[in-house]
């Protein structure tokens, strides 16, 4: 069976899921929702089909499972958001349409050879850094809970870090393709640890410095962990030297600790993480309330969950206005909502779906022939996996809670658009690799 036919078959469970999900929400709340709500399911299926046809014509050899896996995630997200707020779901569906456009654009533009990206690596790197720093630009940057992650342009807010992560991975993949041999050959052993040669250590220190600067400027531990983790993953794969990773982690830990001492915002985040039920921290604006409520919501989920659409997200407070029991339920805390309503079973299902997607990503990297393709696929997959770890880990109190999105599930235009580009790049690499393997 051809790759595309397999993809079509794999899309069947995804489409069943989306139909089932929307039917469930519809039945649960038919008194509140309009009859037209079922059209969301149809629109979603239409989009899946359109993407499939596009891939059939442009990238016939690309990995058949990656797209259906992402479709499942997107479907879970859309149903979940729909259940939280109908208006947001409509917007999310619109973002899917635009995202699909971007997906098609990326594929068409880079179909001949995506490796042209290497030529623009410094431009791309500069663009990535600018994107990262945008939230600190007065007037357009916006601060949420002490972290600078968003940019506000008129009524639109977007999260530049979502795009920056792709730019930076492209740059690092390209840079490490050039220098990986040199990093290994020139390495010196000192005190039992292998150090990279000083000449090439420079640029790596720059990356570390950038991560630290980012932590300092945007004050978000999770995002910097995601970026720096992606970098270390690439460095490890490029050089196969665990010592480099160890050194990198040590430097990151030291830098983070130093910044923790200096920046009260970071201290606040860490304290809220360690002691979510401490009353002063709980009552503080931007304190541990969100994390505490996230844990309470998960506790109520149990093994099978409270049932779809049954969870408590907001409650009517005094004076009739609604109080958010789970702040940012549709973005940061969407995993907590999933756990609350679908239970441990549903949450583990979501994590497994991510794991399968990550497995496909790394598979693509192993199949790719040239170093740039390998590193690109590895980097994109690693940063994707780390993003999942950072936000789910934040919600489950593994690490301090951060404002990054759960890819393809959380509400948010930037996240959807950027992840569609990420998916397009992975499929591009995959198509080429599998075609080469075949011929």
């Amino acid at each position: 069976m051809s790759a595309r036919n397999r993809e079509l078959l794999a899309l069947i469970p995804a489409s069943l899921l989306v139909t089932g999900g929307f039917t469930a929400v519809f039945i649960e709340r038919h008194n509140v929702l309009s009859n037209g709500s079922l059209t969301y399911g149809l629109v979603f299926l239409g989009l899946c089909l359109a993407a499939h046809v596009l891939l059939r014509f442009t990238l016939p050899d690309a990995d058949p499972y990656l797209f259906p896996l992402f479709a499942v995630l997107a479907c879970v997200g859309l149903v979940m958001i729909y259940r939280i707020d109908e208006t947001l779901a409509r917007q999310q569906a619109q973002w899917f349409v635009i995202g699909l456009g971007l997906f098609a654009g990326t594929i068409v533009l880079l179909r001949d050879d995506y490796r042209v990206l290497e030529r623009y690596r410094y431009t791309i790197a500069a663009a990535g850094l600018v994107l990262l720093l945008l939230p600190r630009v007065p007037g357009i940057g916006s601060q949420v809970n002490g972290a600078y992650l968003g940019v506000r342009l008129g009524s639109l807010t977007f999260q530049p870090a979502e795009f920056a992560k792709i730019a930076i991975i492209i740059f690092l993949a390209s840079y490490l393709r050039d220098t990986r041999q040199l990093l290994v050959i020139g390495a010196r052993r000192f005190a039992g640890i292998t150090f990279p040669p000083l000449k090439y250590l420079g640029p790596l220190l720059v990356v570390w410095g950038a991560a630290m600067a980012m932590l300092f400027l945007i004050q978000d531990i999770g995002s910097s962990l995601m970026f720096f983790g992606g970098f270390l993953a690439l460095l490890y794969v490029a050089t196969n030297r665990l010592s480099f990773v160890t050194i990198g982690l040590g430097m990151f830990a030291a830098g983070s600790w130093a910044l923790y001492q200096m920046r009260p915002t970071i201290q606040n985040r860490v304290d809220a993480w360690l002691h979510p039920f401490n009353t002063p921290l709980y009552d503080r604006v931007g304190g541990s309330y969100q994390l505490a409520q996230s844990l309470f919501a998960q506790a109520d989920g149990g093994i099978f969950g409270q049932g779809f659409g049954q969870g408590l997200i907001q409650v009517s407070g005094q004076g009739g206005h609604m109080v958010q029991l789970l702040p940012a339920a549709q973005t940061d805390l969407i995993y907590a909502v999933i756990t609350n309503e679908l239970g441990l079973v549903g949450a583990v299902g979501v994590i497994c779906t991510y794991l399968l997607a990550v497995e496909r990503g790394f598979k693509i990297a192993t199949l790719a022939k040239d170093s740039f393709s390998k590193l690109l696929a590895t980097g994109l997959t690693a940063v994707f996996a780390l993003q999942v770890f950072v936000i789910v880990g934040g919600v489950t109190k593994v690490i301090p809670l951060t404002g990054v999105t759960l890819p393809f599930i959380s509400y948010g235009g930037s996240s959807i658009l950027a992840n569609f580009v990420l998916l397009a790049l992975l499929l591009l690499v995959s198509d080429r690799a599998r075609r080469e393997v075949r011929s």
Binding site: I27, E28, A233, Y236, V237, A238, N240, F277, Y282, A292, L295, F296, A297, Q298, A299, D300, G301, G302, I303, F304, G305, Q306, G307, F308, Q310, L312, V315, S316, G320, L325, T339, G343, L344, A347, V348, I351, Y354, L355, V358, E359, F362, A365, T366, S371, K374, L375, T378, A382, A385, L386, V388, F389, V392, G393, T396, K397, V398
Partner: protein, 477 residues
């Protein structure tokens, strides 16, 4: 580069495994701790969304129901206002729960546990609570409160054959519809409020039982075989008991009299001698069988029940303790503190041929479709004495009402058995704790009752007996 990629994948597997471990930690292993976290108000909010079941009296009268508010949440209404405030209790988000609202919360909210909720999910049904049908009798309850007439005290009436609680009245009370108002609640619970209206005096207040406790001593005396109702003892006053002289009421003098006469006239010196002769061990045996020294098995929250018995420095003292003056305990003095419920249980055990039935407030639980999901079967708590002994004590107690201190409880055409109690407490509010315990009809008892009034003037026979009489009259209609 493929080996490091594979290893990297394994690292991701490890990281995701951590996520699964932590998710299980919060959803399963640590869930209970999180649910009991004082900052967690989800359960309360969840419950507001649940249509709680009704609480009904035995005749179907609605005692508590849920009404839907405009925002879709429910709140509680008590159509009988303060009539059953203590037994039914209240359930409010802001104040928590008491009474049956608390002890039967799981059924009232339809809490069916993990798998029940899964089933509910599949069937898509709204979570609705079951109705609780109680054994309470509104007419008799109303009469009990009318009879207390604003005096502090309590009345408990049981069906001796089943242990069903028919009346559980305590004064002062409160209107559970009004307490969500912070001002009202503040007044009811303020330290300066000596009335303690939220207190269920029938199960939470310990009072000296006075001479009603002589029934316990009589049970021990007759059933142990050491005495018969016709045993002769000398009733001169004072009599030295445990080294100190003990007097009869008004220092009345009696010669050689039978135990029946001693109960009828409530002769302290005779019963104190009986207590001394029986000893602490025998007294303990019968007190234990009657439910003293332990929390009663009533279906109210354990925080709203207390044990009856001897107390020293606020702690229960076993009757065999060296601190117990068994002679004075035998006449209801010493350090005895008993609840009205406990004394009703004493009357009930004599009434039902020596069997003590477990007291209970709930008759059955019925779901929304009218199916009975839980029925409380009458259960024997203990066999206190032989039926023959019970008959003898029954006869002795009938004599009290026929010709003794309890004539005020006599009912037209129905034999009543009872015992008065007047404990001198010397409180500033009034000198005596007044008691009457009884059951009727004496030959085939259908009701056992205990009535008590705090801070009273007069005697149990003049003040408490008429209360018990009125309640029994209503319940025997």
């Amino acid at each position: 580069m493929n080996t490091p990629i594979t290893r990297l994948f394994l690292v991701v597997v490890g990281l995701f495994a951590i996520l699964v471990v932590f998710t299980s930690r919060w959803t399963v292993f640590g869930a209970q701790k999180l649910q009991h976290n004082p900052k967690n108000f989800r359960a309360v909010l969840e419950e507001q969304r649940i249509h709680r079941g009704l609480i009904r009296a035995a005749d179907g009268t609605v005692l508590a129901r849920s009404v839907r508010r405009s925002d879709g949440t429910y709140t509680r209404r008590y159509p009988q206002n303060g009539l059953f405030a203590h037994a039914v209790g209240y359930s409010y988000t802001t104040l928590g729960r008491t009474g049956l609202e608390k002890s039967r919360n799981a059924q009232l909210t339809g809490n069916q546990g993990q798998f029940g909720s899964l089933l509910q999910q599949v069937t898509g049904s709204e979570r609705a609570g079951d109705d609780v049908l109680t054994t309470l009798n509104p007419a008799a309850q109303r009469i009990a409160l009318q009879q207390l007439n604003g005096r502090k005290g309590a009345v408990v009436a049981l069906d001796p054959r089943t242990g069903a609680v028919k009346v559980m009245a305590a004064d002062p009370g409160y209107d559970p519809n009004k307490i969500p108002d912070a001002r009202v609640y503040g007044q009811l619970t303020s330290k300066s409020n000596q009335d303690a209206p939220l207190l269920n005096r029938s199960t939470q207040s310990g009072y000296p039982p006075g001479s009603t406790f002589k029934v316990v001593t009589a049970i021990a005396a007759i059933d142990s075989g050491r005495y018969t109702p016709d045993s002769i003892l000398n009733g001169k006053s004072p009599h030295i008991i445990s080294g100190t002289p003990l007097s009869n009421f008004n220092n009345e003098q009696f010669g050689d009299i039978t135990l029946t006469t001693a109960l009828t006239q409530s002769v302290n010196t005779v019963w104190a001698q009986v207590g001394e002769k029986l000893g602490k061990q025998t007294m303990k045996t019968y007190m234990d069988r009657l439910g003293f020294d332990a929390q009663p098995p009533l279906d109210l929250p354990s925080g709203e029940l207390r044990a009856s018995g001897e107390f020293r420095n606020g702690a229960l003292l076993p009757p065999i303790s060296r601190f117990v003056d068994v002679g004075r305990m035998a006449i209801g003095q010493d350090k005895l503190n008993v609840t009205p419920l406990q004394m009703a249980m004493v009357a009930s055990a004599v009434a039902d041929d020596g069997r003590l039935m477990k007291p209970h407030l709930v008759d059955r639980v019925v779901d929304r479709d009218g199916r009975t999901v839980d029925r409380v079967q009458p259960q024997q708590q203990s066999r206190v004495m032989s039926a023959a002994s019970a008959q003898k004590v029954n006869q002795m107690m009938q004599n009290v009402v026929r010709e003794g201190s309890g004539t005020a409880a006599a009912l037209q055409g129905i034999d009543v058995a009872g015992k008065t109690g007047t404990a001198e407490v010397g409180r500033s509010c009034g000198p005596n704790q007044l008691w009457f315990i009884a059951f009727a009809p004496a030959k085939n008892p259908k009701v056992a009752v205990a009535a008590t009034v705090e801070c009273g003037q007069g005697t149990g026979g003049t003040v408490a007996a008429p209360i018990a009489k009125a309640v029994m009259q209503e319940l025997l209609k």
